[in-house]
Amino acid sequence: MIDSAVTAVAAQAAAPQPEAIDYWSMLFVFVLSTFIGLGVIRRVSRLLYTPLMSLTNAISAIAVVGSLVVTGADYPAVIRILGAVALFASMTNIVSGFLITDRMLKMFKK
């Protein structure tokens, strides 16, 4: 079991093959989450549109996940530099996005 897993990983590392992407399930996920997004956002309080925007901003900095891989994997340095800049940009959005959202929301009092 472990042996075969190790060989599989080693083989993958040695000769990258095209990853099999299940396009249809990706598309399915995209459409479903768009509908969920539309449903949830429609109910957001109109008072909170500015914090909503900074919150979704922080959430869309999920690009951090892609940047992490590009920065940290065993890739050529040029590629990893692009990744590091992307990681910095996403991280800035995460940090400032969540902090400023909270700062604004704290101000909304009855």
């Binding site: 990258p16 095209p18 396009y23 996920v29 995209f30 989450s33 969920i36 997004g37 539309l38 956002i41 429609r42 309080s45 109109r46 008072l47 549109y49 500015t50 914090p51 909503l52 925007m53 900074s54 979704t56 901003n57 922080a58 959430i59 869309s60 999920i62 690009a63 951090v64 996940v65 892609g66 992490l68 891989v69 590009v70 940290g72 890739y75 040029v78 590629i79 692009l82 990744g83 590091a84 992307a86 990681l87 910095f88 940009a89 996403s90 991280m91 800035t92 959005n93 940090v95 400032s96 996005g97 969540f98 902090l99 700062r103 604004m104 929301l105 101000m107 909304f108 009092k109 009855k110």
Partner: protein, 471 residues
């Protein structure tokens, strides 16, 4: 194996937490829980990715994250009047990240012999790069305009054939992208891909040049949507469902906000992006005799306010520019102490981004129950004794109801003109962003107070504290 299972599980958990985060934004009472949920989701996503076995270099990751904190923390402390430009800047960062990752992945694929660059993946990478880079430069331009950077003109800049040029650039970028998608390993593919990137960067700039301040709420929302969609494209390229779900949530949020903003201006997306709002249509205002303003003194205005039972304050961008929200609060206190009901009428596009006025007034500790949406306040306007227009202009211009030649025709407005008396505080005698005269100001029951909103309100408040024995 285990790492991959953790990755998949983390994607599910993080997606759920993000959906909950947005769900809690439906009420100011629960909204802060939403932030916690969002942070938790992001933490799960980052940690689950970081422990994946293919990540072996950690030094640069730590450095980049630290740099993100160093820049991100000060960016979260900007004054609230600067929130629109901060938001635009963060869209720029989001677009940049997507564009760079897309570029890196494409050249990585080429370097490995192109085996990874299937048609589908290349299409996704191209889409990611186009969306990412156009969001990057477009948002930087928007940031510059909002920050009033000197060498970026505030007013819309137009030239003959502009739309032709803009659309042409985009079409060429998409066509080149399609060619790369069809032949990802062709000898010219890398040059073509770089050309796509360059054209997208150019298109972002060209797209924002003709856009003026009044359109910023819509444009910021559209850019928000693009930033989300570029994350979705990244998800397709990297076969990562979490990127797709989180990106789709952001994309749909931007979409809904754009639709609301467009409706609030009675315009379409296409019209906002290619219509160059704010071009003064000469001859449109020549109708009717020229009426003139009637100026009121601060003392007179204070008396009018004091005798009122219902005062509706209509804030606009002028309040933000003058940073007058705290003075507004003092006036609010002075009036409510005298038993006068004070409400705030919030137009959806007042200010420079969705919800801009609400945040500023909340900062000044005005209870959010006093902030009333346009549709709810309008039926009440005829009962208002005083409508106090505070640096708002186009959103109260009655010409929107009938003047077909003006760019604001058909835009829903706050019916300030229906109040018994209108007091309008205005910085200068120039027309608003739409470049048209506002006939509200020359109405028989309107009195003008010229000056910086903060200074005028300060004077008004002084009247109240000095004259507590006025009556």
């Amino acid at each position: 194996m285990i790492a991959s299972a953790i990755g998949q599980l983390a994607a599910i958990v993080a997606t759920s937490l993000f959906i909950l985060a947005l769900n809690w934004m439906n009420d100011p009472k629960t909204a802060r829980k939403g932030v916690i949920s969002g942070v938790a989701g992001m933490l799960v996503a980052v940690l689950a990715t970081w422990i994946q076995p293919q990540i072996i270099h950690h030094g640069w990751i730590v450095l980049a994250i630290a740099a993100g904190f160093v820049v991100g923390v000060p960016l979260s402390r900007v004054p609230l009047t600067a929130v629109p430009q901060r938001t635009a800047l963060s869209h720029a960062f989001g677009g940049l990240a997507a564009g760079l990752v897309g570029t890196a992945e494409f050249f990585l694929g080429l370097g490995e012999g192109g085996g990874q660059l299937t048609h589908f993946r290349t299409a996704a990478l191209t889409a990611e790069v186009i969306l990412g880079y156009l969001t990057f430069t477009g948002s930087l331009m928007a940031t510059g305009k909002l920050q009033e950077v000197r060498w970026i003109p505030q007013r819309p800049v137009t030239y003959p054939g502009q739309n032709f040029v803009n659309i042409g650039v985009l079409v060429i970028a998409i066509a080149l992208g399609a060619m790369v998608t069809a032949n990802p390993t062709a000898p010219w593919a890398s040059q073509a891909f770089l050309a796509v990137a360059a054209l997208s960067l150019l298109f972002g700039i060209l797209l924002i040049i003709p856009i003026g301040g009044a359109d910023m709420p819509t444009v910021i929302s559209i850019l928000n949507s693009y930033a989300g969609l570029s994350a979705v494209a990244m998800g397709f390229a990297l076969n990562n469902k979490l990127l797709v779900t989180a990106g789709a949530l952001d994309g749909s949020s931007g979409l809904i906000l754009s639709i609301i903003m467009c409706r609030a201006m009675n315009r379409s997306f296409v019209n906002v992006l290619f219509g160059a709002f704010g071009q003064v249509k000469v001859g449109a205002q020549a109708t009717g005799e020229q009426k003139s303003w009637k100026q009121e003194t601060v003392e007179g205005a204070a008396q009018l306010l004091e005798q009122a039972r219902l005062v509706v304050i209509i804030p606009g961008y002028g309040m933000a520019v003058a940073q007058a929200q705290h003075k507004v609060r003092e006036l609010y206190d002075a009036l409510t102490k005298r038993g006068i009901t004070v409400k705030f009428a919030i137009h959806p596009v007042a200010g420079r981004m969705p919800g801009h006025m609400n945040v500023l007034l909340a900062e000044a500790d005005i209870p959010y129950t006093a902030l009333v949406e346009m549709d709810e306040i309008n039926p009440e306007m005829p009962q208002a004794d005083v409508a106090l227009v505070l640096g708002a202009n186009d959103v109260v211009n009655p010409a929107a109801r009938y003047a077909k030649q003006t760019p604001i025709y058909g835009m829903p407005i706050i019916d300030a003109d229906k109040a018994h008396t209108v007091l309008a505080v205005k910085r200068s005698k120039n027309p608003g962003f739409a470049g048209i005269d506002n006939e509200l100001y020359v109405q028989d029951n309107t009195w003008m107070l010229f000056g910086d909103a903060k200074a005028v309100l300060g004077e008004l408040v002084k009247q109240f504290s000095a004259g507590s024995g006025l009556h």
